[in-house]
Amino acid sequence: MRLRAHIPMTNGAQSDLRHLRNALICGFVLAVLSVASLLVGATGIGLVSLMSDPNAWDILLISRVPRTAALIIAGTSSAIMGAIVQRLVSNRFVEPSTMGTIDCASFGLLLGLLFAPNAAPMGRMLIAAAGAWIGTAFFMILLRTVPLKSPLMPPLLGIAFGGVIGAMTSFIAYRFDLMQSLSAWSTADFSVVLKERYELLYIAAAVTGLGWLLADRFTLAGLGDNVARGLGLNPLAVLAIGITIVAGVSGAIVVTVGFIPFLGLVVPNLIARWRGDNLRRSLPLVAWLGAALTLLCDIFGRLVFHPYDLPIGVTMGVLGAVIFLGMILRKFGR
């Protein structure tokens, strides 16, 4: 403000300056959280230990760097997937876990474990993604055939659908003594992330990047079939591409770190309130908040019962549920 009094500036230059300042603040917050994530853990790492202790470098490179990278990628991708499906379904309350996507990915993973127990991680990811694709496509077809009036109906339908698939998965897992593997996928936990055991997440990052490039098309598809068609877009083709992207990312996340609850629901909604739903405008912020919240929850989980880790599924579950309830109460309390 003071700057404006001295230097006459055009509107554009002013808003550029504001954008730059906001970007710097966001970048700074993310940098601080990343450094904290690199240093905090059962074994604390500091400048002194890095200089004197060779083990500290091992811990940093084998465990902390992969864990931090995994947190940022998984957080960013999950939040962006939430934002994309919310546009595709035109509903604020859906995300991969309330559409059956995650349950179907787990189901696929379980079938993979049963029929191809020696499959490479990549193969497992593809099977999980295929499961996610079929489940998501089924849910989308269901939504398009059964017109639903209330905005709460699609997520409820999705949760019920996911519940059925989840029950089948549990039953099979129970019969074949795979319950432990199952719970490992369904609760997100980054303490298992080590070098050479998380690299599939880079595929999730690449697929998310593809989704980012198509942001305009997803926003446009969210304006309804008629408007999209009128502007020369084929809504069904966009839907198919969107399902493929979401299934690919969900598959990679479920196989590596497990699904992070609430993130895809809460982050896009918080950003939409402030920045709107035009994905081209909102995705940078969605990505940032997704990464920041994920880092924050994981660091907190490493600190509360130090030196033990609380899985992010628990910390994010609590934080996400509180934010989500707050949003719903505000929305329906008005």
Binding site: R87, S90, N91, R92, P151, D216, R217, T219, L220, G222, L223, G224, N226, V227, R229, G230, L231, G232, L233, N234, A272, R273, G276, D277, N278, R280, R281
Partner: protein, 252 residues
Amino acid sequence: MIEIENLRKSYAGLPVVDIPALTMPQGGVTAIIGPNGAGKSTLLSLIGRLETPGGGGVFLDGENVRSFRSTDLAKRLAMLKQDNSLTARLTVADLVAFGRFPHCNGRPTDRDRAKVSEALELVRMTELKDRFLDELSGGQRQRAFIAMVLAQDTEYALFDEPLNSLDISHAVAVMRLLHSVARTMGKTIVVVLHDLNFVARYADHVIAMKAGRVVETAPASHAIREDLLKQLYDTDVAVSTRDGRTFVDVYG
């Protein structure tokens, strides 16, 4: 030129549109009038390729609209349907900018930005351009959608009951706008209208429909007459002229 040949469409076995031949008037504002269920909206959707015909076709400058590539059609023909309820939280400027999508494929040039500001100016929404649509009144939202269609800058623009949810002054403003856009920019605008007084004042041509068929195509000055309107709506209508202007009294 929009031409229609043997166009048929039925829902559940009931014919809703059945037009052997029709040449849409070129240029100016053409109003499609007729009672509920006459097939007006369906005809518009068939022209805009939002519906698939049961038979026959719609031809744009001799070429069947179904054979166009989607973006090519969207560069020549724009359409605004009735129900524009949005769940997305978009700003007015964002929505209008999407009107340029068929031209710029998401990468707006200076020319696209100029078209967007021009469209915003035409509907007098420049000052509201950064507001979110869900924070606007129904009338303002409707004007934003009209601006989107204007930004699309097509030779043909189809509007399905654009005056819905507008108060009198905004309805007049929208019809004036469409009328002047058609005149000054040489566009062909087709509007489904229910208020016959708006038709009498702002339409150049009238297509009268009943039970899926075109009853009459005529200049507006000729079509707004008692016998035709009575036949269309099965109700008593009085047409009068005052100071050279035509008024329709439909209140019995």
